[in-house]
């Protein structure tokens, strides 16, 4: 069934561009069918998976010997993720249909990429094979690249897309390396198998470190977080879906899966919690400086992702339980806030909080939706965000975590205070202030409705936590079988957690009250090395090294290239030949005197080429050498080879002549004396080496030649008497298939090179015509 769901996404994505011609932007509603089906499918399994704690396993064998199988597993945690990915996804598709103007270009392509992304994300959370996890992971990176670059006519979009792809792509490679190391150490490529019997030892430690690097890049953790704010160049539906609610949680998801099994490694907690806390604080701090409401939310997302990494990274049952609640709460409130920003952007044409003013009068629904969502983000009762944060404090305080416990608590309090401050900054900046002079059109409810749904869910689940209780408990049990059900509730009594919440809210309110002073201080503070600066420096450095290397290695001299290739071919195997080669002892008898005559002819023609001064002469002589070889084939009784050789020689001759028309008829000036000596010795060396190779390899056979087997099997199995042809089209047909693909590639390459050259010549001619 998971495979069928993925297939549905693929089919819908393929159909979208065609359907868009007729439907326009409404094609997005059609595409919503795919995530909606996935949501329904997950809900249908809810009673078994959540209620009885079972897991749905699906195995599709593909290459079992290589550990490559289509293994999918729907446990409670995966189900929760599917509901987030596909549930929010369905709303986003509906939102996008209203967000884009009816005249948007290429809406079909956009819908296709968004659907592929939804499918990839679904596959990622369902995959139970580590290679499959990587494949879907990369697919989300690629679709993210395409979606960030939706407005590819703008340079900022293109560079943001590239930055996201390079950062998450590099992380993806690290993840692949780590997963393979772990799978090899564990002896299984099944994710659930790997996690129930985690491998130990040094190799596994390196493997898990690589997996963490992958997770950190994807979930925008310090110091890899710069790509996420840059990705805000994407249209808002993309930001709401990929860069807040789902894709950036892929890294968190991987940490959540691996933490229970590996959290007791000595380096795990300091590393993961340290990175998470740093991310929380850096994200929150930077969010306070933003004037673009969307960027503000983006840095807020970075901060919240750090929070989730801390909680999942602790790896204790209580912390995982809290983190699971948090991931739901974050999906709901951040999705809603992004959609509101998009609506504001569409209706007013700006997202700058310095320009927006008094919107609470013109967009009252968006205002109340934002208040609820921002309150949930800030962790105020009675919302789901508050419950999640309470659970988080309790989870950290309950565990025996050594020094990481206090670090995590401090980080969460500081991070939460910053979150309160930027939540206030967001609501105040976008909606408060006197009525602006500019006329804002009436609020379009269709744009705000999806966000209102998500905010309502935040509120409902906060007031009645029972709605989400079973799901979160089952998800925690899926990660930690020993977990005992714990009921979420708004009021736990006067606990330490409540006190910490109060401290954070008070701190945040204080930060917001003295915002003018904070802003002055932030402006005056010495600029810390920024992550985007680090990315730029790396990018420039790599390009500079590449340019320098290319300048040295590819200097444009054809003779030099040839010499390097030939000398490499001679020296490397030649060393082996001299060291190990056994010279043949058998003697050869010459079949006929004709053979000697043909060999002499070929040698004479080859020698003359070296002295030819006209290109045409050289080509003709080269042809003579080829025809002589064909004659040798005939003498040895290989008519097929001879025929092929003759035809190839003829065709090459014609092609040479075609090319020669573009070249001077004579070779350029004769090379310098020293150069000539070098060339002559290279040629002589290559000739000698090839001669020696032919002698040695002919005598080096140890196994029976495979050709005898071919001769025996050609007629009964290949149904042909021409063994050469049976080999080509039957026994080794795969090789032939590869070769004709190479031929096609070469033909297309020639065509495009020639056409490109012709175009550039035309341009040069045209520009020369202009200047005269």
């Amino acid at each position: 069934m998971p495979a069928a769901l993925l297939g549905l996404h693929a089919v819908v994505a393929l159909a979208a561009p065609i359907a868009a011609r007729r439907l326009g932007r409404r094609v997005l509603l059609l595409c919503a069918v795919a995530p909606a089906t996935a949501t329904v499918w997950a809900l249908l399994h809810a009673s078994a998976v959540v209620g009885r704690g079972e897991a749905v396993d699906v195995h599709v064998a593909w290459v079992p010997t290589a550990g490559l199988n289509g293994d999918f597993r729907l446990d409670a945690f995966a189900l929760l993720m599917v509901l987030l990915v596909s549930g929010i996804g369905t709303l986003i598709f509906g939102y996008a249909a209203a967000y884009f103007p009816a005249t948007k270009r290429d809406v079909g392509g956009f819908a296709a990429w968004l659907t592929i992304f939804a499918g990839a994300m679904l596959g990622l959370v369902l995959a139970d094979n580590v290679i499959l996890v990587f494949v879907f992971w990369e697919l989300t990176s690629i679709t993210s690249f395409m979606l960030i670059g939706t407005n590819h006519r703008e340079a900022a979009s293109r560079s943001a897309a590239t930055q996201a792809l390079l950062t998450t792509g590099a992380g993806g490679l690290a993840l692949l390396g780590g997963l393979v190391v772990l799978a090899e150490a564990a002896g299984t490529y099944s994710l659930s198998g790997l996690l129930t019997a985690p491998p130990g030892g040094e190799a596994a430690a390196w493997g898990i470190a690589l997996v963490l690097v992958g997770a950190f890049t994807k979930s925008a953790q310090v110091p890899f977080h710069a790509w996420l704010p840059a990705a805000m160049a994407a249209p808002t539906p993309v930001s709401a879906y990929l860069h807040s609610a789902t894709m950036v949680k892929a890294g968190v998801y991987v940490i959540a899966r691996f933490a229970p099994a590996f959290a007791l490694l000595p380096a795990w907690r300091p590393l993961v919690v340290g990175v998470g806390v740093a991310t929380m604080i850096v994200g929150g701090y930077r969010a306070l400086r933003q004037h673009d409401a969307k960027l503000l939310l983006a840095y807020g997302t970075v901060s919240q992702l750090g929070f989730m990494v801390v909680m999942f990274g602790l790896g204790t049952p209580d912390a995982t339980f809290a983190a699971t609640t948090l991931i739901v709460a974050h999906g709901l409130f951040k999705g809603a806030l992004f959609m509101v920003v998009g609506a504001v952007d569409v209706q007013t044409g700006t997202r700058d909080i310095r320009e927006l003013s008094g919107l609470r009068h013109r967009m009252p629904v968006a205002f109340s939706v934002s208040c609820v969502a921002a309150a949930s983000m800030a962790g105020l009762p009675p919302l789901l965000g508050f419950i999640a944060k309470e659970a988080a404090y309790e989870g950290v305080l309950a565990g025996e975590l050594g020094l990481t416990g206090p670090l995590a608590v401090t980080g969460i309090v500081v991070g939460s205070a910053l979150t309160v401050a930027y939540s206030l900054r967001f609501v105040r900046g976008v909606f408060a202030g006197p009525r602006a002079a500019a006329v804002v059109p009436r609020e379009r409810l269709i744009l705000v409705a999806p966000a209102a749904l998500l905010s309502a869910a935040s509120l409902l689940m906060g007031v009645a936590p029972l709605l989400v209780d079973a799901l979160v408990n089952a998800a925690a049990t899926a990660a930690h079988p020993e977990w005992e059900t714990y009921h979420l509730s708004l009021w736990h009594g006067l606990t330490v957690a409540l006190g910490l919440s109060a401290v954070a809210v008070a701190g945040g309110a204080a930060l917001h009250a003295s915002r003018a002073r904070v802003e002055r201080w932030q402006a005056a503070a010495p600029r810390a090395p920024s992550a985007s600066g680090g990315y730029d420096a790396t990018w420039r450095g790599v390009l500079a090294v590449a340019r320098r290397t290319t300048g040295v290695v590819q200097n444009g001299s054809l003779p030099l290239y040839l010499m390097v290739i030939l000398l490499t071919a001679v020296t490397l195997p030649g060393a082996v030949l001299v060291a190990d080669g056994e010279w043949p002892t058998a003697t050869y008898t010459i079949g006929s005197w004709l053979q000697i005559g043909i060999c002499l002819l070929a040698a004479a023609a080859a020698t003359t080429i070296a002295f030819a001064s006209r290109r045409f002469t050289a080509v003709l002589l080269l042809g003579a050498v080829g025809y002589s070889v064909a004659a040798l084939f005939v003498l040895h009784g290989a008519p097929d080879l001879a025929l092929t050789q003759m035809l190839i020689e003829t065709l090459s001759l014609v092609i040479f002549v075609l090319v020669l028309r573009h070249l001077p008829s004579r070779f350029g000036h004769r090379p310098q004396r020293i150069d000539r000596v070098v060339r002559f010795s290279t040629a002589a060396l290559v000739g000698l080496a090839v001669f020696a190779f032919s002698l040695v390899t002919a005598g080096a056979r140890t196994a029976a030649p495979v050709s005898q087997e071919y001769v025996a099997r050609a007629l009964p199995e290949g149904h042909g008497r021409n063994i050469v042809n049976v080999i080509l089209v039957d026994f080794r047909a795969l090789d032939t298939l590869g070769e004709i693909v190479v031929l096609v590639t070469a033909a297309l390459g020639i065509s495009s090179l020639v056409v490109a050259g012709r175009l550039s010549r035309h341009e040069r001619r045209a520009s020369a015509g202009d200047s005269t």
Binding site: V654, I655, H719, R721, N725, T736, V744
Partner: protein
């Protein structure tokens, strides 16, 4: 720069060469020949036309763009490679059919013939592509 003798000669032998190339293609399984060689012979026939009449004529003779010929070839080869898989066999498996036709008697045909036809088309397409692109400027 046309030669009457060459033009007349080409007209006389062109179709014969093409027929011969098809013969090579079909005979290839049991006698010297095959898709590659057949394709080369057909390519040589096109080259002859090119030399006699120019590149426009060579392109007109085939009536299809070189890319189409190349694509058709790869498609035929790949399809014949995958087809047995759908019929429950293995990729690239070959099969033999014996057909009894009026006049011609019993004919044995193998499924790899389709593969060989694909190779034939690819080679013809390659020659055509070279003639059209590299030879294109001869006329202008």
């Amino acid at each position: 720069m046309t030669s009457l003798i060459l033009e007349t000669g080409t007209r006389a032998v062109f179709h014969t060469i093409l027929v011969f190339s098809v013969f090579l293609l079909f005979a290839g399984h049991n006698a010297p020949g095959g898709g590659f060689i057949g394709g080369l012979v057909a390519g040589a026939a096109l080259v002859l036309r090119f030399v006699a009449y120019g590149s426009q004529d060579a392109a007109r003779t085939v009536r299809a763009r070189p890319e189409t010929v190349l694509g058709a070839g790869v498609f035929a080869a790949a399809a014949s490679a995958i087809a047995p898989w759908f019929a429950g066999g293995q990729l690239l498996e070959s099969r033999l059919w014996a057909l009894t036709l009026p006049l011609l008697g019993t004919i044995k045909a193998t499924s790899v013939l389709v593969f060989d036809v694909g190779v034939y088309f690819v080679v013809v397409g390659l020659v055509l592509a070279v003639l059209v692109t590299l030879g294109g400027e001869l006329d202008s």
